[in-house]
C-alpha cells in the first residue's frame, strides 16, 4: 500500500479525526482485549477498570492464549480475532468517556450511541476481518499484562504489544460516519425486493 497509515498508542484526537469510513489503518503499540463482562463491570457494577486506556486501544476479542512453559504468569497469543461488537453497544457510549479509549477494534457494526460518542469524544471504531485469528495473532509480539483473570480465558483483559496490527477498516469515524448503518439500509431495501420476487414461487399451501 502506498500510504500505509499506522496509528501509535497513545493515540491523540488529531491522529484520527481525518479518517473516514472505509479507510484502512494499522496499529503499533498496546491493545487490550475487552468484551462483555469487563464492560459490564465498569459501567454497571461501577468497578474501576484495572488497565489505563487513556489514548489507548481495545479489542472486542476473546483470544486463545497458552502459558509459556517454564515461565511464571507468562502467556503466548495463539489465535485472536474480533467478536460481535454490537454486544458492547449498550455500554460503549459511557465506556468511551470514562476510559479515554481512542480506538475500538471489533467486528460487524455498532449503533447510534457509539456513533454519537465517537463523534463527541473523537474515537474511532474499526473492523478487523473476523475469523482471521492467525493473521492477527502474528502481529502480537508479547502479552504484557493480564487482569481480571477470574473471568476465564476469553474475558480476561489481556494487554499486548502489537506491531502493525491490521488491516483495520474504519467503520465508525469521528464525523458521524457509520459504515454498517449505511449498508444496513441498503440490505433491508434489497431484502424487501427479494421477498416480493420469491413469494409467488412458494405458495405451496393452496
Amino acid at each position: 500500500m502506498a500510504n500505509k497509515v499506522v496509528l501509535h498508542t497513545p493515540i491523540k484526537s488529531e491522529d484520527i479525526e481525518n479518517l473516514k469510513i472505509g479507510d484502512i489503518v494499522y496499529l503499533t503499540g498496546k491493545i487490550t482485549t475487552c468484551r462483555d463482562v469487563a464492560h459490564r463491570r465498569l459501567i454497571e457494577e461501577g468497578r474501576k477498570l484495572p488497565v489505563d486506556l487513556e489514548g489507548g486501544a481495545i479489542f472486542h476479542a476473546g483470544p486463545i492464549v497458552r502459558p509459556i512453559e517454564g515461565q511464571e504468569n507468562a502467556y503466548e497469543m495463539v489465535s485472536i480475532g474480533p467478536t460481535t461488537s454490537m454486544r458492547m453497544e449498550k455500554f460503549e457510549k459511557d465506556f468511551i468517556p470514562q476510559t479515554g479509549v481512542k480506538l475500538i477494534v471489533g467486528k460487524g457494526g455498532m449503533g447510534q450511541d457509539t456513533m454519537d460518542a465517537c463523534q463527541k469524544y473523537k474515537t474511532i471504531f474499526c473492523v478487523f476481518p473476523a475469523g482471521c485469528a492467525v493473521v492477527s495473532a502474528v502481529h502480537f509480539k508479547k502479552i504484557i499484562d493480564a487482569q481480571w483473570k477470574d473471568l476465564g480465558m476469553p474475558e480476561t483483559l489481556w494487554t499486548s504489544e502489537v506491531e502493525e496490527l491490521g488491516p483495520l477498516i474504519v467503520a465508525v469515524d469521528t464525523k458521524g460516519g457509520n459504515l454498517f448503518e449505511e449498508n444496513k439500509k441498503t440490505y433491508k431495501k434489497r431484502a424487501e425486493e427479494v421477498y416480493e420476487e420469491i413469494i409467488p414461487n412458494v405458495r405451496f399451501i393452496k
Binding site: G62, I64, T84, G108, P129, C132, V202, F204
Partner: protein
C-alpha cells in the same frame, strides 16, 4: 482389544480430529470460498477474501486454530445399535473435547449458567452437546463435529407461524434475519433452515442442515427449489465478506423438514460462518475410521 483400550483409542482419534478441524476447513467450504473469491469484483470484498485465504494458510502452517472462537463443541452422531462403544460414546466425546482443548489448544467456551464461571476445560453441564440418531442393525458410527462460534450462533432464531402465513412467512422470517443479524455473523455464511411443527423440532433441523455438504439439496423438489430461491435471493442482498458489501452473501442455503401439525408451521434459522469448522468421520466396528470432510487429513 479390551473395552478400555477401545475407548482410549476412539477418544484419542476424536480429540485429534476435533483439533484438526479447528485448523483446516473442510474441502467443500474451502472450494466454495475460492469460487466466491474468484467471482468477486468489489475491492473491499476482494481484500477480505485474500485475508481469509492467507489466514487459512497461516493456520495450517503455524498449526493454530484459524479462528479464536472454537465454539462449544457439538456432535451429531448416527450410531448403529451394534457399534461396540455405543454406551461409552457420550462420555468419550466429552473426554475427547477436554483432550482437544489442551492439545490444540481450543478456547475455554463453557460458562456454567447461573453459577456464571468458566469451567476452563470447555466442558460443563450438557456441553459438549451430543445429538443422537440410532441406526438399527448397523455396527458403524458416523459423527459430524461442529464448532459453534458465538458470532454465528447469535442470529439463531425460531418461531411458530400460523399456517395462513404459509411459506411466504417462512421466506420473510429467513430474510429478516439476514439483513438484521447477517452482517455480524461472518458472511459469506451457510444458512440452515428447519421447517417442522414447533420451535425445538425446527431448531434442531436448522442446525442439522448445516452438517450437510455444500452443494447437496433437500430431496423434496419444492424444498430444493426454495433452497435455490433463498440462496439467489440472499446473495442479491449483497452482504459480502464481513457484511461490508460484495457480490455474494452465502455459501449456500440448506433446508431440512419434517411433517407438521395442521395448525402450526415451526420455523428456525441457524447460521454457520464462513469459517465453517465442520468435520465428518465414520468408524467401523474395529474403530478403523474414514474422514470424508477433509481429504488426505492425517491425524
Amino acid at each position: 482389544m479390551s473395552k478400555e483400550a477401545q475407548v482410549k483409542q476412539m477418544t484419542d482419534i476424536m480429540a485429534k480430529f476435533v483439533g484438526y478441524t479447528a485448523k483446516v476447513l473442510p474441502d467443500d467450504v474451502a472450494a466454495k470460498l475460492k469460487e466466491l473469491a474468484e467471482k468477486e469484483n468489489v475491492p473491499i470484498a476482494k481484500l477480505l477474501y485474500e485475508t481469509y485465504a492467507k489466514n487459512q494458510k497461516l493456520a495450517k502452517e503455524l498449526n493454530r486454530p484459524s479462528c479464536q472462537d472454537t465454539g462449544v463443541l457439538q456432535y451429531f452422531v448416527k450410531c448403529g445399535t451394534n457399534f461396540p462403544l455405543i454406551g461409552e460414546l457420550e462420555g468419550l466425546l466429552k473426554e475427547a473435547t477436554v483432550q482437544a482443548t489442551f492439545a490444540t489448544p481450543l478456547r475455554h467456551n463453557s460458562v456454567e449458567t447461573f453459577d456464571e464461571y468458566n469451567t476452563g476445560k470447555n466442558v460443563g453441564k450438557g456441553t459438549p452437546t451430543v445429538f443422537w440418531e440410532i441406526v438399527p442393525d448397523s455396527d458403524t458410527c458416523e459423527i459430524d463435529t461442529y464448532m459453534a462460534g458465538g458470532g454465528c450462533t447469535l442470529p439463531g432464531h425460531a418461531m411458530v407461524l400460523m399456517p395462513g402465513e404459509g411459506y411466504e412467512g417462512v421466506t420473510k422470517f429467513v430474510l429478516e434475519r439476514m439483513y438484521t443479524y447477517g452482517p455480524n455473523a461472518c458472511p459469506p455464511f451457510l444458512v440452515g433452515v428447519g421447517v417442522a411443527t414447533s420451535v425445538e423440532t425446527a431448531a434442531v433441523l436448522s442446525k442439522k442442515a448445516l452438517m450437510r455438504p455444500l452443494g447437496s439439496h433437500n430431496p423434496n423438489p419444492r424444498a430444493a427449489e426454495m433452497e435455490k430461491l433463498l440462496e439467489e435471493g440472499i446473495n442479491k442482498i449483497g452482504l459480502g465478506p464481513q457484511g461490508m458489501t460484495g457480490s455474494a452473501s452465502v455459501l449456500g442455503v440448506h433446508i431440512e423438514n419434517t411433517a407438521r401439525h395442521p395448525s402450526a408451521i415451526g420455523v428456525a434459522v441457524n447460521i454457520g460462518c464462513w469459517n465453517h469448522r465442520r468435520g465428518h468421520i465414520i468408524f467401523d466396528k474395529d474403530l478403523h475410521y474414514t474422514i470424508t470432510s477433509h481429504k488426505g487429513a492425517e491425524l
